[in-house]
Symmetry: C2
Subunit: 362 residues, 2 copies
DNA sequence: TTGTACGCGTTATCAT
DNA sequence: ATGATAACGCGTACAA
């Protein structure tokens, strides 16, 4: 059998050395005079190792500048140290902060987020999930997904899942819930406290659970005021879809209908911006003629003219907590953290009814 | 040897079935009655295959629901079908559109983008690049990076690189350049055409190449007007850093200095928004007292009060083209595509000097 | 504690 | 054209 071991034909190395000085674990092992297995064990903290071997290996790693290959790790160990993150639109002004929080906190733990966009489409979202699974992500975080609760629960049987924007309990899954309802109630209450009664509401995309919750909050504030007796005029509830354009359109319809109102509460800041523009076009000033309140507290909300009163939605914290929860799930622990409560940020777009001019009143 | 094959202890499969019904290429090969190599060849279009074998394999793939494992592919073939994308902030309102364009066009070609944030820091950016390389991305796209030209050229020797925001030529690298200078000149020219002469300029972060170009464009417009004789008052050039807050601060300083001005050109929309707010706080109205022009044409620019006149920066197209260029580089071709020219979008924040009130004039 | 041997799922090389 | 077979770089039972 030693017959063809004459070494007459030294085999070339295959890879041409792309992606830098490729130092393998095996090379480290050789340099340190130990087996590859030991190096692996040291890297992963598995089992114990003698101090001197560890020192030798550490030295070799540093000297050779060894960096483990995540791809090989993924194949061998089943862990890729990457977390799939499904967002609805990678360029959403709303989720931006969450993505940042995720990136920072997952990164600190050695995990890399894999961002994909679901485009508010259940089918597309499912395709994203499958793509992520095929890439062997260690877990999946779904930001306000369109998938059914059942689908997510099923997914959670295969790998850790963290979802936001819905209340859902299932093994291997953690739901991070923000209280949209009381946030909306807070905002409406603020306008009621200012003396407003004819408060228009621009609702969000009905397919979005948050939208329904915010509408409930709006109604709840009226109910709380009057022990259930008072309910807002249905004519003051306009349908929007969370875009600026829909906010503008809602105001147009409202104005055309001739129904008076002194304040507007939009289910998100983007619609509030659109509403402000439509009011402006009709010669109505915020807040002198109409008070305006938004929801989400986008970064730009404090720089609009006038700065927008809105409900702060802790998106960065959302990302941070989602990362935290995922990390705990991965560690086999059960997350318990919750999001902070909604908080009203009063700026300059809302004033007392008494301080407004007559034009906006009915 | 049959001694311990009594099946008294049925060996568990190692992987517990995570990530769905794991169907391997080998299983497909077996089902189709061919070798694994052939299946691989069919999948990759390498070499020729007989029609009947191909049919059998296709059938088996469909029947078993086989989906190739990108991780194993990455290890074996050296290609991961993933492209690293370095952005400065994952939640930047400016680059959002570019990320979307990248995701869509890379995805259509079967590639997945890996988004990482450089945080405007050369060191951090370098770390990102190394992380991406260790994950064996097939190429890297750098959106307005802070790395040196030399560092990028060096990187391009290892893998295809596409950069934006700088003019740079190197083998394996393609630079996608947007003409910030003429864009800024366009905007300034617009204000000059409207009769303005005291045009303040809020400059961007000096560490950003675009910022310098936009300043040059501002000056060039004055030079063009007067055959080089006219040059804007240095007191009208304020330093900003591309944030809303810096735009506000710049206006504050300008107003405090007492130097009159009838128009403001901000080097990006965010600073223009900040400027608008600062003017508002000082009781100056846009455009009645001061005309205002921005740069970038953010999605929100058309919904501010009043809608902002600005230079359209084709960010979505930027992402699309960067993806295209990367794909061509990957295919061994030499990209030739260029970005469309800057285009002024006139909205309602800029009017003729003659139409303005006296307050903004000096 | 440490080393050996094998497996992860695919591509590439070398035969045939 | 097609099939064995050896990598790819690492994790991990199992043995020592």
């Amino acid at each position: 059998m030693a017959l063809n071991r004459t070494d007459s034909k030294p085999r070339r190395v295959r890879r041409t050395g792309r992606s830098g000085g490729k130092v393998t674990l095996e090379m480290v092992a050789q340099a340190a005079g130990v087996s590859a297995a030991s190096v692996s064990r040291i890297l992963n903290g598995t089992a114990s190792v003698s101090a001197d071997k560890r020192a030798a290996v550490d030295e070799a790693i540093a000297r050779l500048g060894f960096v483990p290959n995540p791809v090989a790790r993924g194949l061998a160990g089943g862990r890729t140290l990457s977390i799939g993150v499904i967002t609805q639109a990678i360029d959403s002004p709303f989720y931006g902060g969450a993505l940042r929080g995720l990136e920072e906190h997952l990164g600190a733990a050695g995990y890399s987020p894999l961002f994909v966009s679901g485009q508010w489409d259940a089918t597309r979202e499912q395709a994203c999930i499958e793509a992520l699974c095929s890439r062997r992500v260690d877990g999946i975080i779904v930001l306000s997904g369109r998938s059914s609760d059942a689908a997510l629960a099923r997914l959670a049987r295969d790998l850790p899942v963290v979802v936001t924007g819905r209340a859902l309990k299932a093994p291997g899954l953690y739901a991070l819930h923000f209280d949209d309802r009381s946030g909306a109630q807070l905002a409406t209450q603020h306008l009621l406290d200012l003396g407003h009664r004819d408060i228009a509401f621009i609702a969000g995309d009905p397919k979005h659970p948050d939208a329904a919750e915010r509408l409930r909050g709006y109604r709840a504030a009226f109910a709380a005021l009057s022990s259930g007796a008072l309910t807002p005029d249905p004519a003051l509830v306009l349908q929007g879809d969370f875009t600026e354009a829909s906010g503008s359109a809602a105001i147009e319809r409202l104005l055309d209908a001739g129904r008076g109102f002194s304040a507007v509460f939009a289910a998100n800041d983007q619609m509030a911006f659109g509403a402000a523009l439509a009011l402006h076009r009709r010669g109505l000033h915020v807040p002198h003629d109409v008070s305006l309140v938004g929801f989400d507290d986008l970064a730009s909300a404090s720089f609009t003219v006038p700065p927008l009163t809105t409900v702060h939605h802790p998106v960065y914290e959302l990302g941070q907590s989602a990362a935290q929860a995922m990390l705990q799930l991965l560690a086999g622990e059960t997350p318990t953290l919750a999001l902070s409560e909604p908080r009203l940020v009063v700026r300059e777009s809302s004033v007392a009814l008494a301080a407004q001019g007559p034009r906006g009143r009915r």
